[in-house]
């Protein structure tokens, strides 16, 4: 749990002189997962999310999470400008933040004389500890070397970015061509033969081996797959599950190479998740191997899928095969009785519309759709009936009141017994 304190977050900038970077970083983060955009895609309403995040949202709700306009995953388009922004920002982040924090620390130290080595924040302390190799030189002199010590990798990468633009086009004039997999240079005609046997490993370092890495912060393994397959991954189509019989769906899952066991709802959710993982991976510039996706599906399975039943899913619990109808009826016995009683009352009331318990549908046209029977029991309004003030579209008050549950409870009861 301790590491969670070190999660990079846009608020890291707030205590530094660069507090204005915080909103910049926020805008490079997905509103759903709050992390940096991962394979950003843009919706038809022009909102950008991680490919996987928006796919999960759309397959649950079919609406854009930001503006709630309906959208389809087919309309998602990659947003490569954003992807490049995120990568560039992430490359620069550590060193810029470090610099900003040092500036903040220096300012603080000059303010208070006694604060000799007191770190400003907890996070800073962690970094400083890792980097401190003893020397007690004055802060100003040490800054540079300490920054490198603290995070040599990121620092190195960030520096390399600078002369990167030219490096990518850099070709040594030796009349040879580079193997697209291992980058070994060889004669033009030798490449195709070499490709058959190239495993990408053991290649001697190309002249500028790092020129590539800084813009592609993926593992070498995943980078390789792009070149190996070299053809665009095929996206999985949405399935209308209601058209498929159990065994057809099971076969489909099997053909896809994913587990095909478990009750029907799990099969469907597993397929949806796989489709989302797969199609999001198709949006990646550096697609992962199927093996990695399967591992992700397995994590999903353990946290939200078939192996996570006990923790969630009280809602569709009645749909489960192992649903304990007897226990359900016992534990909800009171509710059922009350609902039946309520329903009778309501029916009686409907027959004698002038009784005090009668529904008063037209009396309060702007009121919330509260169950009529109870609404009538509200004391006559001391104030004129007015719609509840609503601050913003996001803050609308619930449309339906709880007594309404009688209708659906009845249907739930039917489920339970059926």
């Amino acid at each position: 749990m301790e590491q969670t304190f070190d999660l990079p977050d846009s608020t890291d900038w707030l205590d530094t002189p660069l507090s204005l970077v915080a909103p910049l970083e926020s805008s490079l983060r997905c509103q759903v997962c709050k992390d940096f955009f991962d394979n950003p895609v843009i919706t038809s309403c022009s909102h950008t999310f991680c490919s996987l995040c928006i796919r999960r949202c759309l397959s649950t709700e079919g609406k854009c999470p930001a503006c709630r306009s309906p959208d389809q995953e087919l309309k998602l388009r990659r947003n490569w400008a954003v992807q490049e922004l995120v990568e560039a920002f992430q490359n620069a982040r550590a060193s810029v933040l470090d610099l900003a924090r040092k500036a903040a620390a220096a300012a603080k130290e000059s303010e208070s004389e006694e604060g000799v080595t007191e770190p400003v924040t907890k996070k800073r302390k962690v970094q400083a500890e890792g980097a401190d190799n003893g020397g007690a030189a004055p802060e100003g002199v040490r800054t540079r070397s300490r920054a490198r010590g603290a995070n040599p990798h990121v620092d190195r990468v960030a520096v390399e970015v600078i002369d990167d633009t030219t490096d990518e086009e850099y070709v040594p004039e030796d009349g040879l061509v580079a193997c697209p997999i291992c980058s070994r240079r060889m004669k033009n005609e030798a490449v195709f033969r070499h490709l058959d046997s190239c495993n990408g490993a053991g290649a001697p370092a190309p002249p500028k081996p790092v020129s590539f890495g800084s813009l592609q912060p993926m593992s070498p393994a995943s980078r390789k797959t792009v070149d190996l397959t070299n053809k665009p991954l095929e996206r999985l189509p949405i399935i209308n599950y209601s058209l498929l019989k159990d065994n057809v769906l099971r076969k489909k899952l099997k053909d896809l190479g994913i587990p095909n066991t478990g009750p029907r709802p799990i099969l469907q959710r597993r397929h949806t998740e796989w489709m989302n993982l797969w199609n999001a991976n198709c949006d990646s510039r550096n697609p992962k191997l199927k093996r990695e996706l399967l591992r992700e599906l397995d994590i999903w399975e353990r946290t939200q899928g078939g192996h996570a039943q006990q923790s969630g899913d009280t809602v569709d619990g009645v749909m489960r095969k192992d649903f304990d109808a007897a226990a359900w009826s016992t534990s909800h016995d009171d509710d059922f009785k009350r609902l039946i009683a309520n329903a009778r009352k309501k029916k009686d009331a409907a027959m004698r519309p002038k009784t005090p318990e009668a529904p008063a549908p037209a009396s309060q046209p702007d009121s919330l759709p509260i169950l009529e029977a109870t609404e009538a029991t509200v004391p006559t309004h001391s104030q004129p009936p007015e719609p509840l003030p609503v601050e913003s579209s996001a803050v609308s008050i619930a449309e339906h009141e709880v007594p309404v549950l009688q209708e659906t409870c009845d249907s739930k009861m039917a489920n339970a017994h059926g």
Binding site: C53, A66, D334, T374, E391, E401
Partner: protein, 149 residues
């Protein structure tokens, strides 16, 4: 720590009481204007996150701490807040929820729901609901969403 659910620092009137795990958080909220119904009161909200958060809404309800304790936390009076702390807010139902919401935005919505209220009353049928209800808010949400009576 706050990376996924809350921007730091929280806005005025909202404080984190407990956020040491990813299943349950507690927040204290206050109404900042001079609404006499809520003046000088602090209320405690409990957030329960399922493993589908943020695709699915967290379960949010007020919890009560007795007036005798060091930090008394009553249940605010409101025509959409039951006396057992359950809140009737469509933002918290799966139909009204959006994954872009955060703990902070939910707290602010509830703050403004209180601020805007002038009626010193509980929802209709509060007594019945409170004595009969044994469900968790999430399951009740399911019921209202599903029906447009």
């Amino acid at each position: 720590m706050f990376a996924t659910k809350l921007e730091r620092p929280p806005p005025p009137g909202i404080t984190i009481v407990k956020s040491d795990n990813l299943e349950e958080w507690q927040m204290d909220i206050q109404v900042l204007d001079s609404n006499p119904l809520y003046l000088n009161q602090i209320y405690r909200l409990k957030f329960t996150f399922s493993n589908k958060y943020p695709i699915e809404p967290p379960e949010v309800q007020f919890i009560e701490l007795a007036p005798t304790t060091e930090t008394p936390r009553p249940i605010p009076i409101h025509p959409h807040i039951y006396s057992n702390g359950i809140i009737c807010l469509d933002l918290l139902s799966s139909a009204g929820w959006s994954p872009v919401q955060t703990v902070e935005s939910v707290c602010m919505s509830i703050q403004s729901m209180l601020t805007a209220n002038s009626r010193d009353e509980r929802p209709p049928g509060d007594k019945d609901f409170v004595s009969y209800n044994r469900r968790r808010p999430r399951d009740i949400n399911f019921f209202y969403d599903d029906d447009n009576v």
